[in-house]
Amino acid sequence: MAAENLSTKIPSRKRIATGIALLVIGLLMSVFFLPGTETGQTATFGLNLSSSAAILLPDMTLPVQTSLYVLVLIVVFMGAYHMARGIRSPGALFGVVAFCFVAAFLIWATRGRSLSLIGMLTSSLVRATPIALAALCGVISERAAVVNIGIEGIMLIAAEASVVTASLSDSLYIGLMVGILSGALIAALHAWLVIRFKVDQIVSGVAINIFATGTTSFLSSKYLQHQSDLLNNSGTFPIISIPLLSKIPIIGPIFFENNLIVYLMMIIVIVMHIVLYYTPWGLRTRAVGEHPKAADTLGINVYLMRYVNVIVGGMIAGLGGAYFTLGSVGRFDEVMTAGKGFIGLAAMIFGNWNPLGAFTSSLIFGFADSLQVKMQILKVPIPSSILGMAPYIVTMIVLTGLVGQAIPPAADGQPYEK
């Protein structure tokens, strides 16, 4: 058939380019990582969070040069294979290559030393939490076709609101509630502007971000910094170890020794997945995001669906904001969200607008973040300011669409006119 011939015939130029790029990556890996190594050198990776764990795993010790050769060879092989035969899934291709590159980097950086791999993965999840919450806020709003780029601002406001109320009331839970409510409030404003008045969704989101940055910074410098004991000192949620589950090697310390907000985040991921795909509400939400007119002709209230979803999204972003203060440092600093809301949107896109995908891609961003911190501790000969770019560089790579095109809900960002 002509169709089959075509898939091998036509896109070959693009395939050769990709293949060459992979070969170049393999070459770069050997140029960068191999020269600094010595024969017989090893890298040790710790697999236990503390030495008091119930089941202790032996540390993983890898011969540096052999491992690097193997990883380079895998990349080169992938490149050559892709050029010759073509690999269908760009995700798998990118995944394997990225894994090899990161692994090579880690082995090179830890050569002759040891690094707690579990520690790094644990902090990946922790650092992924606000990103994942932002991404989940994005998923639920955009599934109903409302783009919310004000997530960053919502989180900033919630962070400040929650720490102040928690400090004043001396209750972390009240602070958490206020954080969530403030998120709902700002999201409701956004929803009202874009649904009722059909204000451009991007403009409204940008306005929220600017408003949030200005207001929180002003309040912070005017009040919080002067009376930080009274207003800006909430303490943080304690780590809760789940009995039994936390004893499982590797998985236990990563997933089951966390604070309340991290657990809530994981619960929301699962609940949102079930709601979106297995309940009438989710079906209607997705219909409203894909083809609002169709939903309308079947008697579904498009506007109501959008309001509720955006406001619930705001509550999730509010929780994410509270994480920065109550879940992490117990104190508000100006512009402390540092773009996590935007990275969350990237995670949402990379996760193809579904909750599990958004969570997984948040983990990748969290990992990039945690990696750069560890590398600074390991004193890798790369300036820390460049290492600090890691999560943002990953964001840019992801957003170029190199890693497979994500398909947004068809009506995403469009106001609905009856």
Partner: protein, 522 residues
């Protein structure tokens, strides 16, 4: 017994238009009632009022003798009124089951969707009414004919007994139309009552029990098919005598003007849409490309006019090979293009008519001198063309967006036909136009052919292809499956090819027709 449905004095005004002006309509039980009218006659407005999407300014609706206030689709659904919309109201990324249950979901444990139960009910409905469909298939994978069945199932699932079908045949092949008619007759046999909206006369004659004709928002009259001829219906629709056939002389064929060899083109999603297509068009003839929408016709025309890159293959226009075509390069070779989507590719809607008339020549004398546009010349040109091509507009300074579809198309035709073109590429030249405009544009196309231009017409309306073409090519899945001289083409044979039946099999199942027997009524 009172009629199932009665509309009395329905009036609805939009800013500047009286879309419905005291319309009366009666639907009896078990009847197929056709609502016939040109575009803009107010058919769709009337049905949207009945379905609760619009609120009438005046008038009353009675369902089974009882006065009904229909405020929103829910009210309509509750009263047993269901609508199959012209543009399908289906979510492409969802399954048939999900689309059918949307809004009236069955629940398990009070919370979770019960897909299995709905799927079982869909199978029941499929079986009862002969509407074969796989409940687990995704809508985006289904051909339009099947999608339409899903729309009908959606309505039946909600237990509607009054069905409104808004131009349901617009997207179907002739065979699919036959299939649809069979389904509609079986619906009526089971006691459902149907309102069938269309502007195609032949369908009305074949299907209707009664016909109500609308013109400019008013009821012209209600008749039965036995009382009228298609010509009589057409003149009721348009308000004057209409010539339903395109009269043309035999072609005087000249040199090859367009030659395409082994052409491959991608669509916007980088799927190969035209796969190894070859054809040629000679001066003085019309080659019609028939095919169901979405079989690569759009991409073919895009490639020929420089709107999309060519993956591989060769295009020769007037003997010259065209490599890396750009629209301007192609236009300057003497090619006229009437694009498929007139509002997107044909006009700049916010520009006045006079600027739209020089969109492809504005940089040449006499419209430009150096870097200056010659405003007076441009306006004078537009005024001449508007008169010559019967563009009905108060003046040439109004924006193109203020014109009706037919007049917008005439602006494009005027612009393209007034240049000295040797090859005309017209894609869906009369889509959505009323009978009067269709008649006009068809005669202009034939005129161009008689002047010696080569014409390539792409249309999903088989009747249009049959009316215009000297040779007919059928396109299916990006390839030309067969090219036949128009005189020997039967509608059935072409329809089978359009549905993907191979030429050999199609020829077997269709009796050959003698020349001149082909029906030319549209």
């Amino acid at each position: 017994m009172p009629p199932v449905l009665q509309l009395k004095g329905i009036t609805k005004a939009f800013p500047g238009v009286l879309a419905n002006d005291h319309i009366d309509l009666e639907l009896n039980e078990g009847e197929i009632h056709c609502l016939l009218g040109e575009n803009g006659a107010g058919k769709t407005t009337l049905m949207n009022i009945l379905y609760g999407l619009y609120k009438p300014d005046a008038g009353e609706i009675y369902v089974r003798g009882q006065k009904a206030e229909i405020e929103n689709p829910n009210d309509a659904i509750q009263r047993g009124i269901g609508m199959v919309h012209q543009h399908f109201m289906l979510v492409p990324v969802m399954t048939v089951t999900e689309n059918v249950m949307l809004g009236v979901e069955e629940k398990r444990n009070g919370v979770f969707l019960d897909r299995a139960k709905v799927a079982a009910r869909i199978r029941e409905i499929s079986h009862d009414y002969g509407l074969e469909v796989d409940p687990d298939a995704y809508i985006k994978d289904l051909p339009v004919g099947i999608q339409q069945r899903v729309e009908i199932i959606k309505v039946l699932y909600r237990q509607a007994d009054i069905l409104i079908l808004d131009e349901p045949t617009a997207v179907l092949t002739p065979q699919e139309v036959e299939g649809l008619f069979k389904i509609l007759r079986s619906l009526v046999a089971k006691g459902k009552s149907l309102i069938f909206i269309t502007h195609k006369l032949k369908e009305v004659m074949a299907l209707a029990d009664r016909i109500t004709v609308l013109r400019l928002g008013r009821t012209v009259g209600t008749v039965t098919p036995s009382e009228v001829t298609p010509e009589r219906l057409a003149s009721m629709m348009v308000g004057r005598e209409v010539n339903l056939t395109v009269s043309k002389k035999p072609p005087k064929v000249g040199d090859v003007a367009l030659e395409v060899k082994d052409l491959y083109v991608e669509d916007e999603r980088h799927q190969v849409a035209v796969r190894g297509l070859s054809l040629d068009v000679r001066a003085g003839e019309v080659l019609g490309i028939a095919g169901v929408q979405g079989n690569g016709q759009t991409q073919l025309v895009y490639a020929l006019t420089g709107l999309a890159p060519v993956l591989s293959g060769e295009i020769r226009i007037l003997g010259k090979p065209v490599r890396k075509p750009t629209p301007r390069k192609i236009l300057e070779l003497g090619v006229g293009h009437v694009p498929e989507d007139r509002q997107r590719h044909g006009l700049i809607l916010s520009f006045p008519i006079h600027d739209n008339m020089v969109l492809c020549t504005y940089y040449q004398a006499p419209f430009a001198r150096g870097i200056n546009l010659q405003e007076k010349v441009i306006v004078a040109n537009a005024e001449t063309l508007a008169k010559q091509f019967d563009v009905r507009t108060p003046n040439v300074f109004v924006p193109a967006s203020s014109l009706s579809g037919g007049n917008q198309q005439k602006v494009i035709v005027a612009r393209e036909f007034s240049r000295p073109i040797k090859l005309l590429i017209a894609s869906q030249p009369t889509r959505g136009l009323d009978v009067g405009s269709i008649e006009y544009i068809h005669s202009r196309i034939i005129e161009k052919r008689d002047e010696g231009a080569a014409v390539l017409v792409v249309s999903s309306e088989l009747d249009e292809i049959l009316a215009l073409s000297d040779r007919i090519a059928v396109m299916y899945r990006g390839q030309i499956v067969d090219i036949v001289p128009a005189a020997q083409a039967s509608k059935e044979y072409l329809g089978l090819l359009m549905a993907g039946i191979s030429p050999a099999d199609a020829a077997k199942s269709v009796a050959p027709v003698a020349a001149g027997e082909v029906e030319r009524v549209f």
